[in-house]
Assembly symmetry: C2
Homo-oligomer: 392 residues x 2
Amino acid sequence: MESGILSAPAPAGRGTDRSTSLSRILTLLHRSGPLSRADLTRLTGYNRSTVGTLTADLASLGLAYETDPPAGRVGRPSPLVHPNERVAAVVVHPDVDAVTVGLVGLGGRVHRRVRHDTVTPPSVEETVSITRAVLAGMAPDLAAMDRIAGVGVAVPGLTRTSDGHVLLAPHLGWRNEPLAAPLSQALGLPVFAGNDATLGSVAESLFGAAVDTGNAVYLNGSASGIGGGIIVAGAPLRGADGYAGELGHTLVRSGGEPCHCGRRGCLETEVNLDRLLDVLGLDRADQDTLDAAMEQPQTAEVRAEVDRQLDQLAVALTNFVNIFNPEAIVLGGFLGTLFAANQQRLVDAVAAESMAGLGQRVQLRRAALRSELLLVGAAELAFAPVLAAPSK
Amino acid sequence: MESGILSAPAPAGRGTDRSTSLSRILTLLHRSGPLSRADLTRLTGYNRSTVGTLTADLASLGLAYETDPPAGRVGRPSPLVHPNERVAAVVVHPDVDAVTVGLVGLGGRVHRRVRHDTVTPPSVEETVSITRAVLAGMAPDLAAMDRIAGVGVAVPGLTRTSDGHVLLAPHLGWRNEPLAAPLSQALGLPVFAGNDATLGSVAESLFGAAVDTGNAVYLNGSASGIGGGIIVAGAPLRGADGYAGELGHTLVRSGGEPCHCGRRGCLETEVNLDRLLDVLGLDRADQDTLDAAMEQPQTAEVRAEVDRQLDQLAVALTNFVNIFNPEAIVLGGFLGTLFAANQQRLVDAVAAESMAGLGQRVQLRRAALRSELLLVGAAELAFAPVLAAPSK
């Protein structure tokens, strides 16, 4: 079983050996950005000289660096400690119409992002080949890094986190593909893979709309359907094999539209990007204009379709509120667009339908990270070993 | 946020201070029963003399005791270390037609169990009063204990674990009841409360049908409806306030029967004990004969109702497989009865309907603990502080 990559740093007084302490400081820097030594002392409970030693250790490991404190402050100046953003992860996101390759630094900074369009959904071989080609083009950027921690892949499908095996990525046509092994062989780097929506939930939880909550449900809608990721007590819910979170394949309408998964009336078939684009007279190539199109005055037909999709979405969100008792539900992709179109309708339906008023407590939020979401989430897979054991 | 009371003991080499080590040894004894010092050495990775010191410490704290090893073994004899079952928890389970009060020792041994029938669902005041009366009758048993760790209450409703406040227990008619406070005042003991199905999942996970899995979904059916408990990476899923796991209030049939929660077609209304008893010509007073009645040859009408309920149950289980990717789903109460009536129908439906064959991997199991389930689960609430810090 994988340990949660979001696990909160250990409280002071437990596990106070050097390795744990280094991990704690580096994790704080990665999540919060630059912090003064005084901040680190306060946040960790370690004493001032211990923090000084640990940040010096991280600097000598090439994982952090210090700068002078901002001028003009009152009191003893405390150096500012930065995560080294030139310690980076290569990230890969194969999707139905493109392979996106990126370079993300510690601290969640996206250095580069290259989207390579494909005519048909890429195979595993094509994904490997495209990634190699894009990285060849990125050679100067890669050379400017101090260290490449590894490769993180966000897969739109059921992905076993232990070895990066893809059980099923329906919209890519992948079934039982050992993705991580050939990619690792081609790139000469360690490769980690996970479900895209689970990684999205991690990114929103670390750097986005759920940063203040320990219990959140994340739901992303795209041309590849609806994926989910759940944060439980600060860590991503993975299940027995890493396949948890297929929230798009839960029932919202008995006897509804047939789904590719074999059931009928799944959330993914009832709340659907193509059906929304259709009624707006758009097609998938116009996805980027969806938000702008939705901000125009709408015909009755569009309003009816938006309301229908919102009502079906409310059925699913009510189930998730009753199941997870989350503090927040974060909506990404076209689900964020739907939500923005009529927030009150969705909020009211969830509040009215959920058990014992739990829906009145949950906050519905639009995802914050948008296009960088999956890159930042996938990078976490590659950073996790470095954050857990900085001195290795 | 509450830490999981099922959290796995820390691995050796982390947190090796005395308090953590005592906690680890006592937790192992509590979950496994008597272990030799040699077993403890092997299981913890501590050296032999450390284990000897720690078990002596636990003995002097009155939490464990040693006996001579069984005779006739080859090699150096290793004393057998027992959890002290006379360190006990008082447990209370208010239900629609009774208040059950019990006394459970470390190691999960049920010393006493008294069911006090009520004509109507007990109020909080009646629950407190009945508990006091039963405990007065149990005075000799209580006096025979070395220590009463506290009181654990299993509530059929939404219960905030931080302070034992009941938000809603629909079948008892409780709403916004501060249960733990008056009970603690009446008994002079610390009181902890949690949702009954969540505590059932904890008990099945520690001592019952899910003891070998870290990721399990537990579903219990009774006259009070259907409750759920989810074990995620070894710990119970609690959500933001402790209200997670209302699996009975997830949709299985659009436009189905109206539910007391305000929705229609909830699992709890479609899969229903009363409807099963009805078709068998039984009523709630005959609940104990349900299993025997189901083992008789059935009319077509009974078979049709059983199949209907199993099919609706399969819709919910498929959702849970897709959401949680569990290793096992454990069915308790009348859901266990339904499952036993036609295991293959349920297994086949979940295998066919779930995403990417995940349902073929999940094991459906009947709950193992039956009548002792909630008592053992509720006792864990009271034992948790002792197990976490034995020397306090």
